[in-house]
Amino acid sequence: MRSAAPPSRSERDRLVRKLESIGDVSADEKAAIYELPMQVRILADGEDIVLEGERPSQCGLILTGFVCRYKLLPEGRRQIMSFHTPGDFPDLQSLHLKTMDHSVATLAESRLGFIEHTYLRELIRCFPDLGSLLWRDTLIDAAIFREWMVGIGRRSAHQRIAHLLCEMALRFEAVGLTHDHDYQFPITQAEMGDALGLTVVHVNRILRSLREEQLVISNRTGVQILDWEGLKALGEFDPTYLHQTKGTSP
């Protein structure tokens, strides 16, 4: 982890776009976000941002890169519980829940803007509607967890992968990081398996099968959705749980 130059306007704009995808943001609120003091650090691929048991005094806003929440079990088994794009605050809960009950790490080289809790509290005090929007964001987080729980418990391996690739398309689109149906998705098949409760061997088989069926091409560099409707149907993907108020289809 090393310090880096302050965030560019376009990097801060990811947060604005993210919030605008789930609600309204006034001109004053945008101005306050653009002024929010943050310490930027660059983290390597696979670096921990905050660990289970720690009591952070700041939240990390993802400016570039890709991040996950995870828990580590005995013998090194890992369950990834969520993925996070630029514009997300994966540890926003630390503002109210003092001790981390899980860890947060990068899955690609990432730039994060660390914001002291005091600044975030002041922002929410001055702009209560922004506070409500951040609350809404954490509620949507919970909705995503519910959907993932259904997937891990009740969907087939093909459906889990199809559902995840549809979800990430809409989440990347919300922050302006898709082009047509394509997006950068820098995770390994092992990481996808750790998120979906599948073995790396089976993830490899299914990605191959989805490619052969002309539904989606997915590799370490990115995802190219060839048949959006077909992938949605396979994954039983209904985007309601993302509660996006704008742009619900890539």
Partner: protein, 81 residues
């Protein structure tokens, strides 16, 4: 513990089709092994993959083995009973 082997074809949803069932001394099915093709990365290709196990109480993961005998030895050390 000795195991009985039965070679079968398995539909894994992918190119890996060569399978081996392992039965324990009570003739109960305890493991499904699948030989991985070279369409997987080199660290996986040609290995025997522990696709599914029965009767193991603790988490066992999905290890890879160089041969079926290696898988049987591993099973014998973990089988619950």
């Amino acid at each position: 513990m000795t195991f009985t082997r039965q070679f079968v074809k398995v539909d894994t949803g992918g190119p890996d089709k060569e399978g081996c069932l392992l039965f324990d001394s009570d003739d109960a099915l305890v493991a499904v092994l699948v030989r991985l093709t070279n369409q997987h990365d080199s660290e996986y290709a040609e290995k025997w993959f522990f696709e599914y196990g029965f009767g193991i109480r603790t988490h066992h993961g999905h290890p890879l083995f160089n041969g079926i005998e290696e898988a049987e030895n591993w099973m014998a050390s973990r089988k619950f009973k």
